[in-house]
């Protein structure tokens, strides 16, 4: 069975006053049917840029995208714009980080959901609104009938994100892309939204690509994980595998940096990864993580490590990955 989404060697650069900036430098991954893939990284890793490229949401004039993005076998990167429009919101849905600014403040919530339906399906306005109401109930909004007629600013953050989810799922997409959906929400609301997404996943069978920097979210929701750093993929594998046997020093750094309730004051300060993420203009030869890495050696600064298997289905790009002897 063809994978739902197949990304190969994706490269995204932005034109800027300082020249061309390579935000994503050759990223490849696959999303299978009914699978949840998490793309993890810090800010500046290129994960959001990758997500936006999946539906070609970038500003065409300042952005150069190359590589291949195949949705169920169809190449998206050179598809005509009209074809993209029929895919967006229809076969692929997307939700964003800031639900307040992502909803049109002057349109009623119900109308915005109905629009998502009417853009792709032929039906009357009232029928679309009925469907919208059903969707609102499905995403767990109480008193949905009243909420339909309200405006975004009258809803709470969690409710707005539910509305975004309803809009994205309106046409039963095969794949839902979620760009940091819980980052802007309170912790308790985060949990509710994650529950909702899990429930939708089982009910509709759609795949999910979730972009996040929060490893807690990853462990809750994702089947597989892709770790990105400075525009490239540095590790990939099943969630349990990554969490229990991280191969790349960066992944290990992320995991050990998570504070745990079991720690006491006497365990010392929280571990952090020294240094900071290089900006795209600072990329040099060799491994981009080398300067911050405690395993690095001279080879790390000379040649960029390739992705190699550490275990079946588990890839890492490191000259000193766990499991491989030191040369």
């Amino acid at each position: 069975m063809t994978a739902v989404l197949e990304v190969q060697n994706l490269e995204v650069s932005f034109a800027s006053a300082a020249g061309s900036i390579r935000a994503v430098r050759g990223v490849s991954f696959v999303v299978e049917h009914a699978e949840t893939l998490a793309i993890v990284g810090e800010s500046g890793s290129g994960k959001s840029v990758t997500a936006l490229s999946l539906m070609r949401l970038h500003n065409a004039e300042r952005t150069t995208v190359s590589g291949s993005i195949k949705f169920k076998g169809t190449e998206l990167l050179d598809a005509p714009e009209t074809q993209m429009r029929s895919v967006r919101g229809n076969a692929i849905g997307m939700i964003f980080q800031e639900p307040m600014s992502s909803l049109n403040p002057l349109m009623k919530v119900g109308d915005q959901i109905a629009e998502a339906i009417l853009l792709h399906q032929d039906m009357s306005g009232s029928e679309a609104r009925r469907r919208a109401l059903k969707l609102l109930i499905q995403v767990g909004i109480a008193d949905a009938e009243r909420r339909m007629r309200e405006y975004p600013h009258q809803l709470s953050g969690g409710m707005r994100q539910r509305v975004m989810i309803a809009m994205a799922m309106a046409c039963d997409p095969e794949i839902l892309i979620a760009d940091e959906p819980t980052t802007a929400l309170d912790v308790t609301v985060q949990a509710q939204i994650l529950d909702l997404m899990r429930e939708l996943k089982t009910r509709t069978g759609s795949s999910i690509v979730i972009i996040t920097h929060d490893l807690g979210v990853v462990s809750e929701l994702a089947d597989r994980v892709v770790i990105m750093y400075a525009g490239t993929k540095v590790e990939e594998g099943l969630t349990e595998e990554i969490f229990s046997h991280p191969a790349h020093p960066y992944t290990l750094g992320l995991l050990t940096a998570i504070p745990s309730l079991d720690r006491s004051r006497h365990d010392g300060p929280l571990t952090e990864i020294p240094g900071h993420v290089p900006s795209p203009s600072q990329i040099r030869a060799g491994c981009s993580f080398a300067a911050r890495c405690n395993r690095s050696s001279s080879i790390c600064f000379e040649s960029e490590p390739k992705l190699e298997a550490v275990a079946p289905g588990h890839l890492a790009a490191c000259h000193h990955k766990r499991g491989k002897p030191f040369p």
């Binding site: 080398a290 050696s297 001279s298």
Partner: protein, 302 residues
């Protein structure tokens, strides 16, 4: 075992030092022109106009007020480069001297309204009570269409250039005041002002060190807008006979004189009009360019 390696002196090979192809100063100037074409264009136009105004007597002109009954309505010729008007006056000289009015009025009005507007704006931002009182009055002024307010002011006084300048200044102060007030109010909220107060900085010091720099760039931009408006209002007032007294040539005056015969002698109207339009364009270009340069946020949008 594992050891920490420091990044070696990497990668970039030594490049031969390139000698600049032109002297550094010229390169810098060209770069400036490329990045700020509007400022350069505007400033150049204004420079030319200002030079015309300053050097009017030596630019081949005669007395702009000299009448000549016998030489009325002549077309352009070697003697009268733009021809003569209905009273036999040399159009070229009148237009050249007319630049003086536009230049002096725009500069004076810009300066005075910025001064007045800053004072009013600062008073307004100084306290809640002062703010509502002053802003209410400013609202009153801004409720009167500027041209009409200027006309009313001119009608209530004896016409002279000084009166025109005052009239335009009064009309433009509310707008400048509003901008300054906005800047002041925003600044008051800013953390660094609170920090300065907490550190024991006295009020005059705060004003000079923090407030003045913040005010300078919006003020400069406003000054250009006022200058532009001043030229337009002066010309319009003169055109309808409520501005510069007819004894002193100003571009608006000249057009007013040519109004009756414009269809047969269009140059009487269009030559001063061209000068007027070009000058205003210069001020506007300069203002736009300054605004883009000084406020990068807005420049991105434009």
């Amino acid at each position: 075992m594992n050891h920490q390696a420091s990044p070696p002196c990497v990668a970039t090979p030594l490049r031969a030092v390139e000698l600049p192809s032109r002297p550094l100063v010229i390169r810098k100037v060209l770069k400036f022109i490329k990045r700020h074409p509007q400022i350069v264009a505007g400033a150049s136009i204004l420079l030319v106009v200002a030079l015309i105004a300053v050097f009017a007597p030596v630019l081949g002109t005669v007395d702009p007020r000299a009448l000549s009954v016998t030489k009325r309505l002549r077309p352009p010729s070697a003697e009268f480069w733009f021809g003569t008007d209905a009273l036999g006056r040399d159009l070229y000289s009148r237009v050249v001297y007319g630049a003086r009015i536009s230049v002096s009025v725009s500069i004076s009005c810009a300066f005075l309204s910025c001064l007045g507007g800053t004072i009013v704006g600062m008073i307004s931002a100084s306290g809640r009570w002062a703010d509502s009182a002053v802003m209410r009055v400013m609202d009153g002024f801004m409720s009167i269409p500027s041209m009409l307010l200027a006309i009313a002011l001119m009608a209530a006084t004896r016409g002279s250039i000084g009166t025109v300048i005052i009239a335009i200044t009064v009309v433009e102060i509310p707008r400048v005041a509003r901008v300054i007030r906005g800047v002041m109010l925003a600044l008051r909220e800013m953390p660094f002002v609170e920090a300065a107060i907490a550190a024991g900085s006295t009020t005059p010091k705060i004003i000079i060190r923090h407030l003045v720099p913040a005010v300078i760039s919006p003020l400069t931009v406003q000054a250009t807008y006022v200058a532009s408006a001043a030229i337009i209002i002066e010309a319009s007032l003169s055109f309808i006979g409520a501005g510069t007294p007819p004894t002193i040539p100003s571009w608006g005056n000249i057009m007013a004189d040519g109004k009756a015969l414009w269809q047969v002698k269009p140059q009487l109207v269009f030559i001063p009009a061209a000068f007027l339009g070009l000058t205003i364009l210069g001020v506007n270009l300069l203002g736009d360019g300054l605004r883009d340069a000084l406020d990068p946020r807005m420049a991105e949008r434009s």
